[in-house]
Amino acid sequence: MSTPEDAPDPGGAAAPPEPPPAPSEAIRLEEVHKSFGALEVLRGIDLSVATHEVICLIGASGSGKSTLLRCVNLLEPVNAGRILLWGHDITAPGVDENAVRRHIGIVFQAFNLFPHMSVLRNVTLGPIQALGVPRDEAEEAGRSLLRRFGLSEKQDDYPDRLSGGQQQRVAIVRALAMRPRIMLLDEVTSALDPELVSEVLDVIRELATAGMTMLIATHEMGFARDIADRVCFLDEGVILEQGPPKQVFTAPSNARTQQFLRRIVQAGRL
C-alpha cells in the first residue's frame, strides 16, 4: 500500500484544503462547541492532530466521542469554535463540504454499507460519483484494495451475505477507496461479535503502520494502548486528560479518568 503522501490527489484543483507536505498539523480543533437542542454535547474541545498521528478517544458513552468525529467530517455543523484542516478553516462559510469529505474517510459503528449494492459497487461509488474516476479504473482500484484486505472473494456479494467483521472491513475499504489523508473511526468494533473484533483491528493496525493519520473513538482499551500515539479521555464534552497511552492508562492524573478506568478494569475489558 502506498503511503498517503504519494497517493494521487483525488480532490482536483478546486478542493480548498490542499494537503501541504508532511510533517505538519493535520487537524486542529479550537474551542469546538456542539449542541443538539438544549443538550450541549461538545463543550469546548481543543485538539491538535499531527500528520501520521494516531489518536484514540476514550470515554463513556455520551461523552461526545462520536459527535467530535462527525463534526470533523462536517456531518454535524459546529455551533462555535473552528476546525482547521492543514491550516484551512473548514467550518468557515463558503467551504465545499464535499471536497473536505473527500480527504477524510469515516467508518461508522453500524457499518452503514449500502444494502442494495454489491461489495465492489459499495467501494467504487465514491470514486466514480464524487471523484469522477472512470468506472473501469475505479473497479480495478477497488478490486486491488479488496484483495489487499482479504475480501476478493466477496466483491460480488451483497452486504447481507457477509459477517459483521467482513462488513466492517468492506466499510473501511470503501472509505479508503477515496484515498483519504485522514481516517475517522467511530467505535468500529462495538457492533461486532467478540471473535470478529480482531480481524477489524488488524486492518486498522495495518493502516497505522502505513502512516495513516487517524482519530479513533473506541472502547477497546487494550487496542488503544497498543496503537495510539496519544490517548484522549473525553468526559461530558471536554477532553479531561490526554497523553501517551502508557501515562493515561497506568498513571491517570484526573480523578474522573481514574474512575472510568477502574470501571473498565472491573468489567474485564483492560
Binding site: N98, R102, F114, H116, L125, Q129, A130
Partner: protein, 314 residues
C-alpha cells in the same frame, strides 16, 4: 439456610418473591376446551361448517328476499350478460368487453405517467437547492389539493373545463386524453406521498455514509436513498394501481364510449337491464384480483427476505 428452588410448583418463593425451579405439573398442557377444538382434523371440520353456513346465508338472502326475482332478472340475466359482453349493434348496444380494452389502454398509459410524474414531485420536495424553493412549495400545494379533491371532480374539471377554454391544440383533445390527464393529476399526488414515505424509511445513517464519501445531496438521493426507497414502496404502489385500474371507469362520466362501465351505462339507461354492470364488475375483478395476488406475493417475498437477513434488504 433454605435450599433455593426447593419449593417445586410454588408460584412464588415467599422470601424473594421470585419463582425458582420447575413450574407446577401440567403447566405445558393445553386446557381441555382448547385442545378439543384445535388439531388438524377438527379444525378442518369447523372451518368447513362455518364456510357452508356463511355462503348458505348469503345465497338464501338472494333467493328469499322480496325483490329477489327482479334482481336476478335485471342483474344476472345470462342472455343480457352475453349480449352486454359482445355488444349488439342492431340494438345499439356497445360491447363491455371491447370497452374494457380501452380501459386497460388508459390504465397502462396513466400508470407509466404517474410513476414518473409522482417521482419528480417527491424528489422535488427533498431537494435543498434554494433556486427550487418556489417549485418545492408548488409541489406541496399540488399534493395537498389533488389528494383532497375527489377524482370525479378532477375528471369533470379537465373533461368539461379544458374544452370550454377553446385553446388551440389543447381544447380539442379526445375524452380519452382528458381522462388520462385527470387520472395522472389525481393519482400522482397520492403516489408522490407513497414515494415520500419510502424516502423517509431509508435510515439517516445511509445518507451520512453517502455524504461522508463526498457525494452531493442529489447524488446521495439518486444512488443511495431512491433505489432503497423504491424497493420498499413497490407493494403499496401496486395497491394504488389496483384502485387506479378500477377508477378509470369514472372517466365514463365524460360521455364518450371509452370503457366497460360506459357501455354498461348505455345498456341500462335504454333497457333498464343491469346485467351489463355485472359483466363490467366481473371483468374488473378478473383484472384486479391477479394484481392483488401478485402484490401479496411481493410482500411475502419481502417479509421472507427481511426475516432471512435480519433486517437488511437488498
Amino acid at each position: 439456610m433454605p435450599v433455593r428452588g426447593s419449593r417445586e410448583g410454588a408460584y412464588l418463593d415467599e422470601q424473594t418473591e421470585l419463582a425458582f425451579g420447575a413450574p407446577p405439573p401440567g403447566s405445558f398442557e393445553l386446557g381441555s376446551r382448547r385442545s378439543h377444538l384445535l388439531g388438524g382434523q377438527r379444525a378442518a371440520v369447523v372451518s368447513s361448517v362455518s364456510t357452508v353456513v356463511f355462503i348458505g346465508g348469503v345465497v338464501a338472502l338472494f333467493i328469499f328476499a322480496p325483490g329477489a326475482a327482479v334482481v336476478r332478472h335485471t342483474f344476472f340475466n345470462p342472455h343480457d350478460m352475453k349480449e352486454a359482453f359482445l355488444g349488439n349493434p342492431r340494438k345499439g348496444l356497445y360491447s363491455v368487453g371491447k370497452g374494457l380494452v380501452v380501459n386497460i389502454e388508459m390504465f397502462l398509459i396513466a400508470e407509466v405517467l404517474i410513476l414518473f410524474f409522482a417521482l419528480v414531485i417527491a424528489v422535488l420536495r427533498q431537494l435543498r437547492n434554494p433556486v427550487l424553493y418556489p417549485f418545492r412549495k408548488l409541489a406541496v400545494v399540488y399534493t395537498d389539493v389533488f389528494r383532497g379533491v375527489p377524482l370525479i371532480i378532477v375528471i369533470y374539471g379537465i373533461g368539461f373545463g379544458v374544452p370550454a377554454l377553446y385553446l388551440k391544440g389543447i381544447s380539442t383533445q379526445s375524452d380519452f386524453v382528458y381522462g388520462v390527464v385527470a387520472l395522472v393529476l389525481s393519482y400522482s399526488a397520492y403516489v408522490a406521498e407513497v414515494y415520500r414515505a419510502g424516502i423517509a424509511s431509508v435510515h439517516q445513517s445511509q445518507v451520512a455514509a453517502a455524504r461522508s464519501l463526498g457525494l452531493s445531496h442529489w447524488k446521495s438521493l439518486r444512488h443511495v436513498v431512491l433505489p432503497q426507497a423504491i424497493r420498499t414502496v413497490i407493494p403499496p404502489l401496486l395497491n394504488d394501481f389496483i384502485s387506479l385500474q378500477k377508477d378509470t371507469a369514472l372517466v365514463s362520466t365524460l360521455g364518450a364510449v371509452i370503457e366497460a362501465n360506459r357501455a354498461a351505462q348505455i345498456d341500462s339507461s335504454t333497457l333498464f337491464v343491469y346485467s351489463s354492470y355485472t359483466v363490467a364488475a366481473l371483468l374488473f375483478l378478473c383484472l384486479t384480483i391477479p394484481l392483488a395476488r401478485f402484490t401479496d406475493r411481493l410482500i411475502a417475498r419481502d417479509v421472507g427476505r427481511r426475516l432471512a437477513t435480519g433486517g437488511a434488504v437488498r
